[in-house]
Symmetry: C2
Subunit: 214 residues, 2 copies
């Protein structure tokens, strides 16, 4: 097996790639895919423009590398739900984790939101396969919980849409929320307050009793 064309991921290469990916993430959030220039990314990364093409070949591949980075980070954190779990505990944990992700990595959520708004040109396949499969499996579990009388009869699909929309809103609409409430940034206890509010509203709507009082 030939190894001549394979190189060890060098230290400089690793560092530069990361700098580019991080700069690209910020620029793609601010101007969208088409609106972002390789020049602006290279400026932000403080590396020559040709460097970007050297590491990522072209703009489309750089963008997809950013998307992949995001999905990977999400998969690392979001654990799975099973039928035997307790509905209250499971939903609360899921909501809390989503809120934490939204506040901690808003750019990830923002890039995905922009993708979907623009018609999901790059993540269509992911929606049709992975995400659809994931959602169908989870709605099955919710349906079983309802059959077993563990929670009230709410539409499981729309329940997930509600959890996604309310949690991701704190990332995607960060600017609106901070501007409107006259704040510069989220504070440490915002994750807790938001999680409690959402857990209260969503669990109560499901006929469950939230762990924490408002």
């Amino acid at each position: 097996m030939s190894v001549t064309k394979k190189y060890k991921p060098g230290k400089i290469r690793e560092q530069n790639s990361q700098k580019i990916l991080q700069a690209a993430e910020v620029e793609f959030v601010k101007h969208g895919y088409k609106g972002t220039s390789m020049q602006s990314i290279s400026d932000a990364a403080e590396l020559p423009k040709a460097n970007l093409h050297y590491y990522f070949t072209n703009k489309a591949k750089l963008y997809n590398a950013v998307l992949e980075d995001i999905v990977q980070r999400w998969n690392e954190v979001l654990t799975d739900i099973t039928e035997d779990d307790d509905p209250t505990e499971t939903l609360e944990f899921y909501i809390r984790t989503k809120v934490e992700l939204a506040i901690r990595y808003p750019n990830a959520s923002k890039i995905f939101a922009t993708e979907i708004i623009q018609g999901a040109p790059n993540v269509n396949e992911y929606l049709r396969t992975d995400l659809r499969t994931w959602l169908r499996a989870k709605t099955k579990i919710i349906e079983r919980w309802i059959e077993q009388g563990k929670m009230s009869k709410v539409d499981p699909e729309h329940l997930f849409f509600m959890i996604w929309s309310t949690t991701q809103h704190y990332a995607d609409f960060e600017t609106q929320i901070l501007t409107i409430t006259n704040k510069l940034e989220y504070e440490a206890d915002d994750i807790e307050r938001i999680s409690r509010f959402l857990c209260h509203m969503i669990l109560t709507g499901c006929g469950l009793t939230p762990t924490h009082k408002l």
Copy 2:
């Protein structure tokens, strides 16, 4: 009836402006402000590129005309909330109207969402003034309802964030929802089903009794 087309001064202008605005709305949704070219708008509007500059001077002014169009359409439909109104009735009406707007005019919601995600470069002023004032007035009303024991003690600001996020989600994430549920478009009764679901969840969370059963 006269066969010769006598255009009142401004009639062609009116028609062309509308064609351009509609085409621009679609293009701005698909590619964002920076990512959209005057060429692609003129192609979609089936008018020469110079025409766009003739009517709207430049890209920025055309974009702002699109934004203004959207805000005007929203203001026409969204009525006001007052303290003497019944909480259940008022919240249900507000949620229903928002769902209807989201399903009927998804592009309006999408352009606004993109604006906010990208840091609200063009609507910052609107957020700081009009919207902040609107929200403060409405949260006051919710607080009064809570004091009067008409509903349970939920944070009024986050309540509005929840209504906005859940309703607008059906516009902004239209592509994701349709793809994931394997549908081509929303159906006539989707507005009703979604409204009932959201009214049930949100009103129950507020300690109110929704008008319709699930």
